[in-house]
């Protein structure tokens, strides 16, 4: 195929961009990296089971190749719908082919998850959790959906916005009947 002189470099650039792993993908900005400590809890709604504190907003975000690890604390109920309890959480996310959308990296956990079936489907209809993240400007949202054996659901939405060494966070845990919301401010440790 022949291209006029002006088109050839454009075609080449297009081919290079399309072949690059970063094409259409977006890494998490370095401004999110760090160990973030909760400093102030401004909203605590729908939660009668425990006294939430600013530390419940703590989050650690660590870059890992093109993706990132996140460690945080979730307020969740056990499978029988008991009282809210604190639980440590960690997950790895990597960019998808949709700009700003990160998918849960299930392969990192295949060793034990495989005991419970194919972890690669990320399909809540098959009893597996659906985890993903979304980046929009300076705001990172992490989502989790689980469909329980009785058909009820748990839907988590953790929204974090970074400005310099300050992060604001809004954690929402929605079920069909109620919503628990925590909001507050965090600061980067050592910042």
């Amino acid at each position: 195929m022949r291209y006029p002189g002006v088109l050839r470099p454009l075609v080449l650039i297009g081919v290079i961009l399309a072949a690059s792993p970063a094409f259409g993908q977006e890494a998490l900005p370095a401004s999110f990296d760090g160990d973030w400590q909760g400093k102030e809890l401004t909203v605590d709604e729908g939660n009668a089971d425990l006294k939430a504190t600013a530390e419940d907003l703590n989050v650690q975000i660590v870059p890992d190749d093109s993706g990132f690890w996140m460690h945080w604390t979730a307020l969740s109920r056990d499978g029988t719908g008991g009282a809210l309890a604190r639980q440590p959480v960690e997950a790895r996310f990597e960019p998808s082919d949709r700009p700003g959308v990160f998918v849960f990296d299930s392969e990192q956990s295949s060793l034990l998850l495989s005991l419970f079936g194919d972890p690669a489907t990320n399909n809540p209809l098959e009893g597996e959790p659906l985890l993903w993240a979304r980046l929009e400007g300076d705001t990172l949202s992490v989502y989790g959906l689980a469909i329980n054996p009785d058909g009820s659901f748990d839907l988590y939405q953790h929204v974090r916005t970074v400005t310099g060494d300050t992060m604001t966070a809004r954690h929402t845990h929605r079920t069909e009947g109620d919503v628990v919301v925590l909001e507050g401010r965090l600061a980067r440790a050592g910042g």
Partner: protein, 190 residues
Amino acid sequence: MRHLARVPLRALFALGLLALVGVADKAAAADLDKFFGTYVGNAQELSDTEPMARDMDIVIEPYHDEGFQIHWITVTKVDGRRDVPGVERTLQSAFFEPAEDRSLFVEIEADNPFREREAKAPMSGHAVRWASVDGDTLHVYSFAVLEDGRYELQIYERSLTDVGLDIIFRRFDDGELVRQIKGSTVRVKS
């Protein structure tokens, strides 16, 4: 870095996100019979200026051995009338079968001998739909991850009454309740 054995399994348990298996049975299927029937009625969105701005037909029938199918027609009226230009009519259908070892139903494609069933891939834009029975209420859920990563959750509640079904529909866009419709129907002979 420390990755806690690089296994989010613990995290998933912690979130309550890893569904327990083997604790449910197919009792849900047996609870379906009372919903089977044909219903007609009306409904209105909270923002509707006209009361009973929509007409509604609902048909719930068995599907295969232990599943069900539901078809609903909504006619959105103009100034309370359905015989003037601008009236909209939508027909929606969904087919469900029991999920193995759980008390819920998952959506399946309608029988089509020319197509293989396709597994749902939520992160590829497929909506996941499921249903459950809680006493006299049939819940149907639809959840989709949108192209930009936000989500859309739709919840239909259809509750048996002495004369028919009461309906509540809610739609959440990325956590925000953006639509709510309430209605009532009576059971009719079909």
